[in-house]
Symmetry: C2
Subunit: 308 residues, 2 copies
């Protein structure tokens, strides 16, 4: 799910940097490879580095810190520690133009959590300026059929941001209207999308990948925000909505009890696996080499295939 | 599928006529009840009446006639005649403020066609002006898993129209990426949506029903067109695209051969039935009485449940 990000590549970014147009950052956030770290970029060791969000504005950082802290506080007893090596928790490419931090915590076996994943990416653009992406996603395991969580903020200029905020469903909604009712209608999730839709600075955004579009829920917030007052927009509109969606996910999806029989478990496993493998293929197949070179890309793809 | 229409109720219509805000016209097009026909409205007997599209502009009528003719010509050997009684093929409400025509042809048993359905509705609005909806939809049976067809033009004012143009999938696309590739990627259907997206008079439209949103494909054209030159827009942009989408549906979905085994057939039957019954429930439950009164609504609902 976190892989949705690059497929909603902001137009301004696409146009200014065609070679990165279809690149796919979010996949980075699942990597288990070690990146080399040069001395030209400030190093952020371990957990501290991830929570620093050093390249984004204060309201953007505040939001991400709040979301990650909320998840980790409420799910603390469900989560294993992040056991990525420090040079994976903070890494960059060989030229120092891309810098990323990854934070991954798997769920303990008795929990409903598969893993949670936080990340940020800073990438200098050939045209000048930079791309900054921050994300938080969470995957549940097959002991529940409840939706996953996806939050991503993709900023390609000081005045332009793509916001992705969704609880992607884990069942076919056409065949499962009760599931739709429980997780999307009764939770009134669409009110947030409607709120943003009314703002003149906001318009719908479409992923270039049809598969990624298919993965989204009917209440998914997939929008492009263009404004001279982006920080204010984050504080006033994006943050309250993201916090509300996270609260819904925690209350209803994580802590709402679901009964899943063996047939359903097998179905969920199959669908989750398909969704993850397709997302990796779409994200990394052609995009990762553009950001990190072929050698790293191959190492990453191999490592990822082991994980999934 | 045809039932999507009213859930994409144009804002201008919604605002001018709150009582009809959630009404659902498309369902009318599936009715088997006989409507009383008063002398105050021109009567359109049988087939001629349906193909007249008497309340819409010339380009709008031309498009609908072209689409229906194309479908009936290419599928002629697959279709039974329309056997609705004349007073169902053209009907209206007791006050004469709503007038509709319905054209339904089921598929012959050896074909892949379940039924095709054409319709138009003219409805006077309390605020003055009128709502005009025209639609063409086609449902395939479980001998194929190929997508259905849906075309609807919903005009609530001389300068405002909602266009719905889709090949709604009949499988969960997340679990079936090959299906997505065959019917949506390889057919380049998204180019049409992208073309419209670039026009300043066009913006995305969201159904008020989350279920109806779930039914749509990732390349669905669900847009609101607002312009003083609506007829020109239909001629220049809407018509060519609608004809292309129909051609894709005929070539790839109807005449593209698909192998469906017994397990898949059972799945398709279940999903199709769920989709149809939910659509009826959403469309007609509260909306039909608003347009035709409770007595007619009940008769219609009973008749519909028999058909589906």
């Amino acid at each position: 799910m976190a892989a949705i990000a690059f497929h909603f590549s902001p137009p301004s970014f696409c146009y200014s940097s065609p070679s990165l147009q279809n690149s796919s950052y979010s996949s980075l956030s699942r990597l288990r490879f070690s990146c080399s770290v040069s001395s030209s970029v400030p190093q952020h060791g371990g957990r501290t580095g991830f929570m620093e969000f050093p390249y984004v504005s204060a309201p953007h950082k505040d939001l991400m810190v709040d979301l990650v802290s909320t998840v980790e506080t409420r799910l603390e007893s469900f989560l294993n520690p992040c056991n990525l090596p420090p040079d994976v928790q903070s890494c960059q490419n060989s030229t120092g133009t891309a810098h990323a931090s990854i934070h991954l915590r798997s769920g303990v076996q008795s929990s409903v959590i598969d893993f949670i994943l936080g990340s940020w990416l800073h990438c200098e653009l050939p045209s000048g300026g930079a791309l900054n992406i921050t994300s938080l996603s969470a995957y549940l395991n097959s002991s529940t059929d409840a939706p996953n969580l996806l939050v991503e903020l993709i900023q390609s200029s000081p005045t332009s941001m793509v916001l992705i905020l969704d609880l992607p469903p884990r069942k076919d909604l056409v065949l499962n209207p009760d599931y739709l009712k429980t997780f999307y209608e009764d939770t009134h999730l669409d009110q947030h999308r409607q709120h943003l839709e009314k703002l003149s600075e906001v318009r719908p955004y479409f992923s270039s990948s049809l598969y990624i579009r298919s993965v989204a829920s009917p209440t998914a917030i997939l929008v492009l925000i263009e404004t001279e007052r982006l920080e204010e927009m984050i504080k006033t509109h994006v943050s309250p909505i993201a916090k509300e969606v996270l609260k819904t996910w925690l209350d209803i999806c994580v802590f709402g009890e679901r009964r899943v029989d063996e047939t359903e478990k097998a179905y969920l496993k199959k669908r989750d696996e398909m969704s993850k493998s397709k997302t990796i293929e779409i994200d990394l197949g052609s995009n990762l080499p553009r950001l990190f070179g072929h050698e790293t890309a191959n190492r990453v793809l191999e490592a990822l295939r082991e994980v999934f």
